[in-house]
C-alpha cells in the first residue's frame, strides 16, 4: 500500500518561502510526476515527502498514518537520486543489499531478493563490481535495484534520468514505466522535462514557485490547461500565444494555439506571416514563423512540406483548438 496525502504542507528556509502551502492526494499505485521549471520547489516537495527535510507546517500522511515528524527511515519509502548516490566502497551486490542489511533481514532472504532484483534489472553479471566500474545507465539500474529490494510503500525518483545521454534516457524511461506496470507500486517522479511527465505519468502535478498550478492526467493537462502557465509548459514545442486584436476577435485577452493545431496555407488565412527557419525532421516539419504584427509562432506541419525561408504564409487555427485566457492568465 502506498497512498500519500499532503495537507497544507509549507516549507520555508529562513525567510524564504519555498512551498507556500500544498494539498495533494496520491492514490495507491499511481505514477505521479512533479513537473515544473527549475527552482519551482518540486525537488523540495519530494524531499519533504521523503523526510529528508522537515516541513515548516502542515502534515504528511502515508496510508492514513501521520508521518510528519517521522525520520526518513521510518516512512517505508525508497528514493532514487539524480546522482545515483551509490556507496562507492561497496560492490553492486552490497549496495543493493544495504537497505536489507539495515533492516536486519536474514542473509538467505537478502540474497534471494538481491538475485531477484538483479535479474529484473539485468545486473546479474555486474554484482561483484564497484559502482566506479559501471556506466551511467548501469549505475542508475543499481540505484533502482537498491530501491526495489525493500518493497517500499512508494518509490521517489529525483530527476533520475538527467545525467544520462538522450538515447539512454528514452530507454530508461520505458524501463521505469515497465517497472511500474509490473510492481504496481506508487511512484513519485520529479522532472523538469515535460516529455518525461507526459509519457510516464498517470497524474501530473505542475508546480510553479512552490504552488500547485494544476493536477491531472497528461491528456487533461494537454487539452484543458487551467492557465497560461500550464498551457505553455505542457506540450512540445510550446504553445503559441497571441494577444491583442487577434485574441480579441475570439473574445479573450490571450489565445493559445498549439503548433500542431494550425492550418497552413500559402494563399489565405486568419494570420499572415513570414517563414523563418524551417526544421525538417522527415516525419514533421517545424516552421518558425513571424506574424505580420511581430509575434513569433511555431507551427508543425506533417511530413515534408515545400516551404522555405522567406515564404509568405497564412495561418488559421483549427476549429475548437483555440485556448482562451483572461488577462490574469486563467483559462476563460
Amino acid at each position: 500500500m502506498g497512498s500519500i496525502t499532503l495537507k497544507n504542507v509549507r516549507k520555508a528556509f529562513g525567510d524564504v518561502e519555498v512551498i507556500p502551502g500544498v494539498d495533494l492526494n496520491i492514490e495507491d499505485g499511481e505514477f505521479v510526476v512533479f513537473v515544473g521549471p527549475s527552482g519551482c520547489g518540486k525537488s523540495t516537495l519530494l524531499r519533504l515527502i521523503a523526510g529528508l527535510e522537515d516541513v515548516t507546517s502542515g502534515s504528511i500522511q502515508i496510508d492514513g498514518k501521520d508521518v510528519t515528524d517521522a525520520g526518513p527511515a521510518k516512512r517505508g519509502l525508497a528514493m532514487v537520486f539524480q546522482s545515483y548516490a551509490l556507496y562507492p566502497h561497496m560492490s553492486v551486490r552490497k549496495n543493493i543489499a544495504f537497505p536489507l542489511k539495515m533492516a536486519k533481514m536474514p542473509e538467505a532472504e537478502q540474497e534471494k531478493r538481491v538475485a531477484h532484483a538483479a535479474k529484473i534489472l539485468n545486473l546479474d553479471s555486474y554484482l561483484e563490481r564497484k559502482p566506479g566500474q559501471l556506466s551511467g545507465g548501469q549505475r542508475q539500474r543499481v540505484a533502482i535495484g537498491r530501491a526495489i529490494v525493500r518493497e517500499p510503500a512508494a518509490f521517489l525518483f529525483d530527476e533520475p534520468l538527467s545525467n544520462l545521454d538522450a538515447a539512454l534516457r528514452v530507454n530508461m524511461r520505458v524501463e521505469i514505466s515497465e517497472l511500474h506496470n509490473n510492481l504496481k507500486t506508487t511512484m513519485i517522479y520529479v522532472t523538469h522535462d515535460q516529455v518525461e511527465a507526459m509519457t510516464m505519468a498517470d497524474k501530473i502535478v505542475v508546480l510553479r514557485a512552490g504552488n500547485v498550478e494544476q493536477v491531472g492526467s497528461p491528456m487533461e493537462l494537454y487539452s484543458r490547461p487551467a492557465n497560461k502557465f500550464v498551457a505553455g509548459f505542457i506540450g512540445s514545442p510550446n504553445m503559441n500565444f497571441i494577444e491583442g486584436e487577434g485574441a480579441a476577435k475570439h473574445g479573450a485577452h490571450t489565445i493559445g494555439i498549439r503548433p500542431e493545431h494550425w492550418q497552413l496555407s500559402t494563399t489565405e488565412g486568419a494570420f499572415p506571416g513570414t517563414v523563418g527557419v524551417a526544421e525538417h525532421l522527415g516525419s514533421d516539419t517545424f516552421l518558425h514563423i513571424q506574424l505580420d504584427d511581430g509575434t513569433p509562432i511555431i507551427a508543425r506541419a506533417e511530413g515534408e512540406r515545400d516551404i522555405h525561408h522567406g515564404d509568405k504564409i497564412f495561418l488559421t487555427p483549427q476549429e475548437g483548438r483555440i485556448y482562451k485566457f483572461s488577462q490574469n492568465g486563467l483559462a476563460a
Binding site: F81, A85, L86, P88
Partner: protein, 274 residues
C-alpha cells in the same frame, strides 16, 4: 591551447628542480655524513667524506638512553593525534554536513590561532603547567600538542568530508540507516583515506615539534626533539654526536613518511586536487 615545451626548456627545468631539491635536502644529508665522522673531523671544516665510524652512535646510545625519549616521542605523537581526531572528527562532521552561516568564520578563527607566535602564550601555559603538575609529563605534552594541531586537523577533515556527496548520506538515511550506522557503514569507509592522511601528517607534526617539548620538559617526558637539543648543552657542542642523535631522532618518522608518501601528498594538498 597546449603549450609546446622544447626539449631544451625541459632539460633546463629538470636541472633547476634537482638543484633546488638538493639544496633543500643538503642539511639532512650533511647531518647523516657528519654522524659518521669522528668529533675531530666534524669540527675541522667542510668535508663530504667521513671516516665511517660508528663511535658517535655507540656513545649516544651508551651515555644517553635513546629508548626513553623515543618512547616519549611515540606516546606524545600518537596520543596527541588520536586525541585530536576524537575531537576533530565530530567537529568537522558537523561543520561539513550541517553548516550554519558562521561555520566559515569559526574555521577562519581556528586557523588564525595558528598565526599567533607560540612564544606569546609561553608564560601563561608555563605557569598553568607548573601549578597543575603537568610540567614534564607526557599527558601535559599530549594535551598541548593536541591543541596546537587541532586547527589543522579540523581543517583537513572538514575539506575531506566536504568531498563526500551529501546525497550518499541521504541515501543511507532513506535505506533505513540510523545516524550511527550511517557513520559506521557509509561515512567512515569513505573518509578513511582522508582520516589516514590527516593522522599521518599530524603524527609527523607532533613528532617534530620542538618548541613546547623543549620548554615544558626536563628529563622524564622529553621526546626525541628535546633529546637532540640536549646535545648542544653545557659541555659544549659535539657535532658528530649531535648529528648521530639527530639521525636517530628523524629516522623513524622519515621511514614512516617514505612508506606513506602517497597518502601524505594527498593530505598536504588538503583535498583541493581530486
Amino acid at each position: 591551447m597546449a603549450r609546446a615545451v622544447s626539449t631544451q626548456t625541459k632539460i633546463g627545468w629538470t636541472i633547476a628542480a634537482w638543484i633546488v631539491a638538493l639544496l633543500i635536502f643538503f642539511p639532512i644529508l650533511y647531518t647523516v655524513i657528519t654522524s659518521f665522522k669522528t668529533e675531530n673531523e666534524a669540527i675541522s671544516g667542510f668535508n663530504m667524506i667521513p671516516s665511517f665510524t660508528l663511535d658517535s652512535y655507540r656513545e649516544v646510545q651508551s651515555q644517553y638512553n635513546y629508548f626513553r625519549p623515543f618512547m616519549n616521542s611515540v606516546v606524545i605523537a600518537v596520543g596527541s593525534t588520536v586525541l585530536a581526531l576524537l575531537v576533530a572528527v565530530p567537529a568537522a562532521w558537523a561543520m561539513a554536513f550541517s553548516p550554519t552561516k558562521h561555520t566559515k568564520d569559526i574555521l577562519m578563527w581556528m586557523l588564525s590561532t595558528k598565526m599567533m607566535p607560540a612564544v606569546a602564550v609561553l608564560v601563561p601555559i608555563y605557569l598553568i603547567f607548573l601549578r597543575t603538575g603537568l610540567m614534564d609529563t607526557r599527558i601535559g605534552l599530549v594535551i598541548v600538542l593536541m591543541l596546537m594541531n587541532l586547527p589543522i586537523v579540523v581543517w583537513m577533515l572538514y575539506t575531506y568530508f566536504r568531498e563526500i556527496p551529501g546525497e550518499i548520506l541521504e541515501a543511507a538515511r532513506m535505506d533505513g540507516a540510523t545516524l550511527q550506522q550511517e557513520i559506521v557503514h557509509v561515512l567512515t569507509p569513505m573518509a578513511v583515506p582522508g582520516i589516514a592522511s590527516t593522522l599521518l601528517l599530524n603524527v609527523i607534526l607532533a613528532w617534530n615539534e620542538s618548541f613546547w617539548t623543549i620548554q615544558l620538559t626536563t628529563t622524564n617526558a622529553a621526546p626525541l626533539s628535546a633529546f637532540i637539543a640536549s646535545f648542544s648543552s653545557p659541555q659544549g657542542l659535539f657535532w658528530a654526536k649531535l648529528s648521530a642523535a639527530s639521525v636517530m631522532a628523524i629516522a623513524p618518522i622519515l621511514i614512516m613518511g617514505w612508506f606513506s608518501q602517497k597518502q601524505l601528498v594527498r593530505g598536504l594538498t588538503f583535498g583541493a586536487v581530486k
